[in-house]
Symmetry: C2
Amino acid sequence: MTTTADDAFAALGTLLGERLNRSQSDRDLHGRSESHFNDMPPDAVVYPETTDEVAAIVRICAAAGLPLIGWGAGTSLEGHALAPRGGVTVDFNRMNRVLDIAPEDMVVTVQPGVTREQLNTELRSTGLFFPIDPGANASLGGMTSTRASGTTAVRYGTMRANVLALEVVLADGRVIRTGTRAPKSSTGYDLTALFVGAEGTLGLITEVTLKLHGQPEAVRAAVCAFDSMAGAVDAVIATIQSGIPMARIEFVDAAAAAAFNRAASTGWPNAPHLMVEFHGSTQGVEEQVRRFAEIASEFGAQDFRWAAKAEERTALWAMRHNAYRFTLQAFPGSDPVTTDICVPISRLAEAVEETAAEIAASGIPGPIVGHVGDGNFHALLLPRAGDAAEWATAQRLAGNMAERALRLGGTVSGEHGIGLGKTKYMRKEHGDGWDVMGAIKAALDPDGLMNPGKLLPGN
Amino acid sequence: MTTTADDAFAALGTLLGERLNRSQSDRDLHGRSESHFNDMPPDAVVYPETTDEVAAIVRICAAAGLPLIGWGAGTSLEGHALAPRGGVTVDFNRMNRVLDIAPEDMVVTVQPGVTREQLNTELRSTGLFFPIDPGANASLGGMTSTRASGTTAVRYGTMRANVLALEVVLADGRVIRTGTRAPKSSTGYDLTALFVGAEGTLGLITEVTLKLHGQPEAVRAAVCAFDSMAGAVDAVIATIQSGIPMARIEFVDAAAAAAFNRAASTGWPNAPHLMVEFHGSTQGVEEQVRRFAEIASEFGAQDFRWAAKAEERTALWAMRHNAYRFTLQAFPGSDPVTTDICVPISRLAEAVEETAAEIAASGIPGPIVGHVGDGNFHALLLPRAGDAAEWATAQRLAGNMAERALRLGGTVSGEHGIGLGKTKYMRKEHGDGWDVMGAIKAALDPDGLMNPGKLLPGN
């Protein structure tokens, strides 16, 4: 460190004027997350407008040894954007421009503060769309940094497959560009893939170039109830194995369906459901629908309800996106613990059924929903607030889910990431690979200032 | 270094017996490549059979400061497997087992010496296949290490998209596993993506888990001639932009078509051609064929020849795969220089036409073929052997192609990689990003023993 924190705040003030905010209220706002973590506010919040400003901020903070934490929409679930060691939160909400839409290459370049809904609004007239949909209206910088996915990843892939190029400010203030607009490259280490999912621990992303997809000619969506959880899950496995190019295939258990009914007057049967969507040509979608309906019926599906109109589909997926909120409303006074495991599709039935049985036996509520076409699902565990025994039970259930995922050949996070919450599982999942991540971190951020406390060993 | 090279060879002999080979003939065999590089033989060749043996080899060589170079099928084109600083070449041809086929998860785990043709033969009865097809019957370890792609990447992606997990022996002999069989994960840095395309400079890959794809219900392939190069290229651009899910779409210029005619008695017109293939349901393929034919006709396609039968298709693609050999036969006595640039699809016409015009003006032959659906193409430049002026011209043309790719927003290698041959373009493509690669290399291989001289700065 060559300067003091006070020097750094003075320099940031000179650089940014009122776009440096050290008020208690703004620090508190950036010290909270959407899940169960304690508040951990930064010492200051900055609102850059350009890459050059981000680079200057990084150099100023690095000289004073101040941690730097990126902030998009604040929707992450593992405490990624909290400031356990204080420092400066870099809020990207003023870097929210769509910089360049290139329809002929089906790519777009955005600043990191652009949200996915904003992007799709701006794309509407082009015939293209950006499909990745984690539910929350997250920022694209945040989605890149957590390697987000969501309901449509089964068809379009995750952020890993859809980020083509990045601009990144490194820990020493250098600015690099990774990748190009060409569809592929074999020129050295895949730095784009390295920064996707690095959770801001290697640098701050200042531009994202994304692949776009053609708006499908035809879209149909449906929801159907099943006799049993096993029937619904087995129908998913058979559907995926049959090669039907599902655009979405979501599982909702009976408890989650009941929460939907209560919050949104859905009128669904109190039973496990699948929510599905098909994209393609008119003819292609018809064929997909027919094949899916055959498979689902074999596994006990009934009560198909089709949402053909765009508004009906929007309402259907809005409900899925509100699953977290609706479930909390159904169980007021609880202290939610989110989970997020992902297994090979062949092990999905075991994973879901063991999890459901263990939750049922535990005595605390834990509705299950999931992007099951990817083998990914979530139980929302709901211990009563302030009940230490129930909290411990929820932690045990979450830990057992992670262990189960690993035992079945899967991963402890399909899409939420590691942040503060899941470092405890990293050694078991990655072995010495976790130390390889640590070595890369030490090489690119030797002072450990980029989002400290997250993802890595020894934090 | 704690031991001498002689100590290391003695230890390798004890470990491997006759699977350590120091004969001049075997060293020479592993000191040659398929392209224009001078011979650079290693000091010894080893033939491990297990991961444990690879780890032991790495520890022995590391203690003596001996370089380690991985060797698959020897088909790389940028000198990746040559030994410019001597050392030990690790030939994986005895690690050639398909370890586990999991049809229900559509994945397979192989040892690195398995070739793509061998894999597809072993998969035949499963209804699944591994689509990546670089032409040569490369090893899957080598294809992973060079981030290979080829004719089918336009539909199925490159090795980046199709490698799900790896086992890697690091420079210090530790063995790590990256990734799982789950379709996605958000647990930390994407080490799988880091080792894919690292050209053996960060470790030796000892197992590869690959995604498989369902054998399509229907396949059709065709070749058609065009009035002009511009027509053929513009037809590709329009086809890709229309969203037709082409399985292959290959450009062959008039000079390459003439070479095919001479070598394989093809009887094609002396004109630019597209070679295409469609995969899907019977109905889906018909729709694709109809839409492609419409677009192609608009741009002057004529003389469609369909290869509906499997044997006809095999013959068609064998010819494409032999383009390199056939072209050399057509121009005996030349010293070939391969090229490999990739641009955004919107700039493909400029890239191909400028390249063709410059080659035509240069006076040396340079047929062009390419995986143009990805924006990727190759000119095979053919200066006369021993003619220094023609050699210099070929080098100038190759350099101008690389510069052109960068100017048009593309990359200096779509699929061949960097190796020894293309480090000269890395600074211009990656700027400080190349130093980031160097920092990662230094962190994971501080003594610089893993495939030295390739890919990285300061080599």
